[in-house]
Amino acid sequence: MSDWPDVRLHVVTGKGGTGKSTVAAALALALAHGGRDVLLCEVEGRQGIARMFDVEPLPYEERRLATGLPGRRGRAGTVHALHVDPESALLEYLALYYHLGRAGRLLDRFGVVDFATTLAPGVRDVLLTGKVFEAAKPGGRRGGGRAYDAVVLDAPPTGRIVQFLGVSSELAGLAKVGPVKHQSDLMMGLFRSEATAVHLTTVLEEMPVQETADGITELRAAGLPVGGVVVDMVRPRDLDDEHLAAAGAGALDPGGVEHDLRAAGLDDEVADGLVDVLLADGRDHAVRRRLEDAQRERLATLGRPTYELPRLAGGVDLGALYELAGLLREQGMS
């Protein structure tokens, strides 16, 4: 059973480098089962989706990307991808809403597109989110585009998310009238509704966890629906509590370890100093686990559903994305 049955738009934010793109991709795969179609969007112009899925750079156009993770009865859905860039979005927007044939092209020639999308970040954000809104809004789409059961947005980092979703944007202050304002009001309706969840990724380190806490506060203050917290890159737990405490205190018995190693035929390696290396590995691991535990406790006080993904020592390739998708589903995120 999914923890988010009514959510159609999953926004994934978090501190830079804490796994937003990875988690967004895995979540899209996890949601695409039982014939459900999912759209994975990126708005930061970095072609991260193409790299993760090992396909050609994505155009400004929905593309079929992958088959989802099959469900229990074996049926998968599909994942499409969309790479949204502000210039294309602005020109499309102008053509769509204003029929600005000649003027639209002129705007571009005169550098207005550049101007609008750089100086007024609010305008850029409305354009980017507008495109995502088109795909996720209730009641189907203009021009008969494909309808999706869920949309996953690989969003900007925590520090910019509230502004990005248009709530406290300068735009609200700058453009008090006009169709841009009208459009952003419409989108706010969806973003603030139960059909949206803003999930936060973090790792178990001080700054990212702090940013998660701050992000949740800001989202709440802005009336945006806070989703779950996805803890990425969690260290393996190969030592139980008792052994962990001993490893941390430097109280593991070197003689016992040596005995085990010799019994396994590792005499040469013992001579090479393997016992000390293993004890040092254990000590470092204990220090890191202690820090992780402290941060995990802080996260628990935030009172959000939490999902954990392990740090995969081999890095993240396509197979790993499906593995992470499976773990998210097991934990009820999809």
């Binding site: 830079g16 480098g17 970095r46 750089t118 100086l119 841009v180 190969d238 254990g282 890095g315």
Partner: protein, 394 residues
């Protein structure tokens, strides 16, 4: 098990193909006046700059470090929680070698305001500072932080050369997604301020009616439709007021850019041992070469390899096999868990070494140093010293 096995131990001096980056030689060289730490987000730029600055100071240099958004506890330990744009002495450094260390945290908006104030009459400055477009530009234009970091570097360097307070400036760079942003931002800002649309907005203010083409009417008409007339008026006021400052901004940016190309400057590129970060680092080193900017080398930070001989004695596969054998004899034994941890680290080490070697193959001239991940956070001077030692290859 075979005695012949692939070497999986740490190479704290980087991959076989890369020359070793000698950080101590760089810091000891009196002609090194500026060190810039660049890299993509979260790789350890702030930590590296602070650690280098501390190490240089404890080796006798008079150092100032400009940091950007350090973690709270690190800022506290350096005495720079206040965002006041003034370097302050760091307490607790070892001054036996005669060095000093000042630190400051960059206040981007304050720096921008100061530039405006220094360039315009008080009336005009006040008018600009209050304009909503100036507020948007100075607080959220993508690139303002980079531009202001450069501006502040230029100021501090000029003052230091004039009065001799510092002989080394270490600069952290903003948490942008791409290291290139640091080099591109000033250009982006000035070409933006010089853009066609801005000139168009200025045209009526400048008078000649021949600028009032049919094109302009169409364009302003469309913009008005889009965002309303008030916004357009605010824009025009802002652009008109700012117009006289453009030249000054451009000149300052050009001077700082030239400073970055000078002999006394050294760029250090920081990366984590991840494909994305190393790809960014590769772009960046190529870009530095194109711009004739001096690259000192690459720091691969937070590596899994342990420094100082703590070699991974077993390869990942060997460790997994050994864990299975030990586990069969005694499932409760701690040795099984230790071997699995070891396997995990060995796998990461193998992968990271491959990545660094690939970087070295494509950039054989770039000196590299690998810095191991400390088990804990780096949030005090002792932590910075430990990172400094690792940076120096020890």
């Amino acid at each position: 098990m075979s005695r012949h096995r692939p070497r999986v131990g740490p190479r704290s001096s980087g991959g076989e193909q890369s020359p070793h980056l000698d950080v101590d030689a760089l810091l000891a060289d009196p002609t090194t006046r500026i060190v810039v730490c660049c890299g993509s987000g979260g790789v350890g730029k702030t930590t590296t700059s602070a650690a280098l600055a501390l190490r240089a100071a404890e080796q006798g240099r008079k150092v100032v470090v400009l940091t950007i958004d350090p973690a709270r506890r690190l800022a506290q330990s350096m005495g720079i929680e206040e965002l006041d744009n003034t370097p302050r002495p760091v307490v607790g450094i070892d001054a036996a070698a005669g060095g000093t260390l000042d630190a400051m945290m960059l206040d981007m908006k304050r720096t921008f305001d100061e530039v405006v104030e220094s360039q315009a009459s008080p009336d005009k400055a006040a008018q600009i500072l209050a304009n909503p477009f100036y507020v948007a530009l100075s607080s959220s234009f993508a690139g303002t932080q980079e531009y202001m970091a450069m501006e502040k570097l230029g100021q501090v360097h000029r003052d230091a050369e004039a009065d001799g307070t510092y002989d080394l400036v270490v600069v952290d760079t903003p948490p942008s997604r791409s290291a290139l942003d640091f080099l591109d931002a000033p250009e982006r800002l000035s070409s933006f301020l010089d853009g066609r649309f801005i000139r168009l907005l200025l045209a009526p203010a400048r008078g000649p009616a021949r600028f009032m083409t049919a094109g302009l009417g169409l364009v302003t008409g469309a913009v008005t439709k889009l965002i309303g007339a008030q916004v357009l008026r605010d824009m025009q006021t802002f652009v008109a007021a700012f117009d006289t400052l453009f030249g000054g901004f451009r000149a300052r940016a050009e001077r700082t850019f030239a400073l970055l190309q000078a002999d006394g400057t050294a760029f250090l590129v920081v990366a984590s041992p991840e494909p994305d970060a190393l790809r960014e680092a590769a772009y960046f080193t190529e870009r530095l070469a194109d711009d004739a900017m001096p690259l000192a080398g690459l720091v691969v930070n937070r590596c899994s390899a342990r420094p100082g001989g703590g070699a991974a004695v077993l390869s990942a596969d060997e460790a997994v096999a050994a864990a299975t054998r030990v586990g069969k004899r005694d499932p409760r034994s701690v040795t099984t868990g230790l071997l699995r941890l070891h396997a995990d680290r060995a796998r990461a080490v193998e992968r990271e070494e491959r990545l660094v070697e690939r970087f070295g193959a494509a950039h054989p001239d770039v000196p590299v140093v690998a810095v191991a991940a400390l088990a804990g956070d780096v949030h005090d001077l002792d932590g910075l010293r430990a990172v400094g030692r690792l940076l120096a290859g020890g």
